[in-house]
Amino acid sequence: MADVVAVFLFIGVIAYAVLGGADFGAGFWDLIAGGARRGHAPRKLIDASLAPVWEANHTWLIYCLVVLWSGFPTAFSAITTTLYIPLVLALLGIVLRGAGFAFRKASIRTPEQRLYGAAFALSSVLTPYCFGSIAGGLASGRVPTQGGGDAVSSWVNPTSILGGVLAVLSCAYLAATYLVVEAKRRDKPVLRRYYRYRALAAGAVTGAVSIAGIFVLQADSPRLFDKLSGPALPLIVLAAVGGFLGLALLALDRTRGVRESAAAAVALVVCGWGVAQYPYLLGTHLTISEAAAPDATLAVVVAVACVAAVLILPSLILLFRLSGRGSVGVGDRPPPSTL
């Protein structure tokens, strides 16, 4: 049962990485889109494509938190008493990102938009970095079972830095590929080219850092490296294939399948981490079954996840389809006034 809950937890992590990650990545592009005039069009596209979905995507984080603390309470408190600094920073980013984005959408004066936009964009880089470094700390076994681990070295270490940088980069890559497709759908060839170049660049850099990362892991987290090159190897190879496929499609200017390949690459890397970590939840000292809550709680969590699958997945698909065909959205289709 504990393993089932762990799988559900990981599904949440993957969904957050692929969906929430793309929203953070969009913030990265927003950040480097240049001055108010130059960055106007790319920002507008980011805004229109994020607005209807970001809260739903953000909810995956809540899902992960609640499953973690109900299913594995000891691991949760071990994490919060060790990695509290990056958690607080991520939280700061979440507050500023959400508020900045929502407020920018509702303001019309440039100075205000600039302020809110800066908050949104800067925090969109800070938050994925923190989450990536937290993942690095967990994977490299720097969170002791009893908690209260080193507050600094648990997230400032080679594996964590790699995790943070990779998180920021892959979010940017994901977002750029999504935005290419969005630009195509809205029939904006200039923007499509704009994001295509950026997606190619981000994809290439992400790939290069991943390859360099192999050596970092070998030196800093030998056990993780061992597992990644052992049982998790097929997943990592598939992830690399997905990454290359995405880049190839971008290079050929094909939009069909480009989002899917990019998302699959990121999802497979996260999966690989999960497989490499199994059967441990923290490093190599706390197993999933040791950390698990009593069976009745696990059963409730499984039940909640099943209900979620029945209720939430169709709703999410509905939202994505409605927003995909423009029945839900902002901007481009000027609403006729009812008065």
Binding site: V66, S77, T80, I108, P294, I312, V328
Partner: protein, 484 residues
């Protein structure tokens, strides 16, 4: 082997009193931060729960009767709800992080019991986030009735979400449904945890509070408008939908509140003693209005003979346990008692004030309906109800939370034993205060400018330019050419 295993209880008491004098360093900032962030978040809850219902009522009326004013109200309320929902979503996320960062002791030991209602809450929140997006961004893009129905899951899911959070909170007040062995939860009976003894009443209390606060706050926007001379059908309808919703919920709320007070008398005697400002157990207990507890004595209050006993047990001879019935090591401090008592008095007092305004409205509606929009005294009173209802909400929440001290889970875990021992919380707390002040100011400013825009331009499709427009007024679309 701890001290408690070696020393019999009565011997231990003096030790614990000594220990209690030195609370862990982190306790104060942790409690302040939790109180501050929760106190902030709780203001947003009514809008997530009830503003969406008001919006649907207006939407329904608009479609049913072809009422364009009602549709306009629904549309604008949905935009306000969108901003507040975003702020609520992020401040809610802060709270879930804080449960782990500030109170690891709580999550570690009781996460398996206390935590899973939040998993259910997460489910509801997910649905809410999805359908709120469909509704808000679906105006004029979906068929009108399909659009209306897309809003219904929002209202339902928000009620479910509130129920789940209340389940967790009420469990802390009256925990049940778990078996402990060696300080660990070994088995959990989920239904008993969720539907604990305090759940139903606390749930109704919060749900009604949400409708009262959202209703009165929204109504106050329109009464202020009327006071300033904006007296159209738009203001009138906006006022009526919101005010009537709140006014209907209020008497039910007072009944539920009274029932809760008796439940607290039965099941949480320490909280009840604090509410009644009662140092010593006794019969014929007077109701103390105001007053403070100083050195174990009640001073300066207005004392109404026998009333507390009558309210608690319907007869003057009802015995009420005082603070002296609580063992000294788990007795709330004098300051806590005073806070709880005053918060309770403020909650009840403000509810009575709002009830008076609601009755006044009823009388005007009946007798002098045509003066409703010009009666400056009434409009003034109704305008104040918005702020007063928030004060009432906050006080009620203080009664629940401070009234539980020194426990975080009554009878099982003390707050001081749940608090984190790592890091230094004061700087974080400082950052949180600054951050929330900025977010709060931002939200108010954004809502204010939205309102101004609506008043000045009446424009619904405000084009939001991401950058300055050219001096000649060239549409910013043009700049796309220069981008790459």
């Amino acid at each position: 082997m701890t001290i408690a295993d070696l020393v019999p209880y009565h011997d231990l008491v003096p030790y614990q009193v000594v220990l209690a004098a030195a609370d862990p360093d982190q306790l104060l900032p942790a409690r302040e931060q939790m109180a501050f962030t929760l106190g902030f978040h709780i203001i947003l809850v009514p809008f997530g729960v009830a503003l969406t219902s008001l919006m649907l009522i207006a939407n329904y009326r608009g479609l049913r009767k072809g009422d364009s004013t009602a549709l306009l109200l629904a549309r604008r309320w949905s935009k306000v709800a969108a901003v507040l929902f975003a702020v609520g979503a992020i401040t809610g996320t802060v709270l879930s992080f804080e449960l782990g960062i500030l109170w690891p002791g709580l999550m570690k030991t009781y996460g398996s019991a206390f935590g899973f209602p939040f998993a259910i809450e997460g489910l509801f929140f997910f649905l809410e986030a999805i359908f709120v997006a469909i509704y808000i961004y679906g105006w004029d893009r979906m068929r009108p009735w399909a659009h209306f129905w897309s809003g219904v899951p929002v209202a339902l899911a928000s009620v479910g979400g509130a129920a789940a959070v209340i389940a967790a909170n009420s469990w802390m007040n009256q925990p049940g449904g778990i078996t402990m062995r060696d300080g660990k939860v070994v088995s959990v009976r989920p239904a008993e945890v969720f539907f604990n003894n305090a759940f139903w009443l606390q749930f109704w209390h919060m749900l009604l509070a949400a409708y009262i606060v959202a209703g009165f706050v929204v109504a106050s926007v329109y009464t202020v408008g009327m006071l300033r001379g904006r007296r159209g059908r738009y203001q009138r309808l906006g006022f009526l939908i919101s005010f009537v919703t709140a006014a209907v919920a209020l008497p039910v709320q007072i009944f539920v509140g009274d029932t809760i007070a008796r439940q607290v008398f039965d099941d949480e005697p320490a909280k009840f003693a604090a509410i009644e400002l009662l140092p010593t157990t006794g019969k014929n207990v007077p109701e103390t209005l105001g007053g403070v507890l100083i050195d174990g004595k009640v001073r300066y209050g207005i004392s109404v003979p026998d009333v507390a006993s009558i309210l608690a047990g319907f007869k003057p001879s009802t015995t009420i346990k005082g603070l002296d019935a609580v063992p000294p090591d788990i007795r709330p401090t004098t300051a806590q008692v005073n806070i709880v008592h005053w918060a309770f008095d403020i909650m009840v007092g403000t509810s009575m004030l709002m009830l008076a305004v609601a009755v006044w409205f009823l009388w005007l509606w009946w007798k002098r309906r045509d003066t409703l929009e010009t009666n400056r005294w009434f409009l003034g009173a109704a305008s104040v109800c918005g702020i007063v209802s928030i004060l009432s909400l906050e006080s009620g929440w203080v009664v629940t939370e401070v009234g539980r001290q020194p426990w975080i889970v009554v009878g099982l875990l003390r707050t001081r034993d749940a608090v984190t021992t790592v890091g230094n919380l004061w700087p974080t707390f400082g950052v949180v205060v600054v951050l929330y002040a900025a977010v709060g100011t931002g939200a108010l400013w954004v809502l204010h400018s939205m309102k101004k825009r609506w008043q000045e331009q009446g424009d619904e499709s405000v084009h939001v330019p991401y950058g300055p427009e050219d001096a000649q007024g060239t549409p910013p679309e043009r700049s796309e050419g220069k981008v790459s």
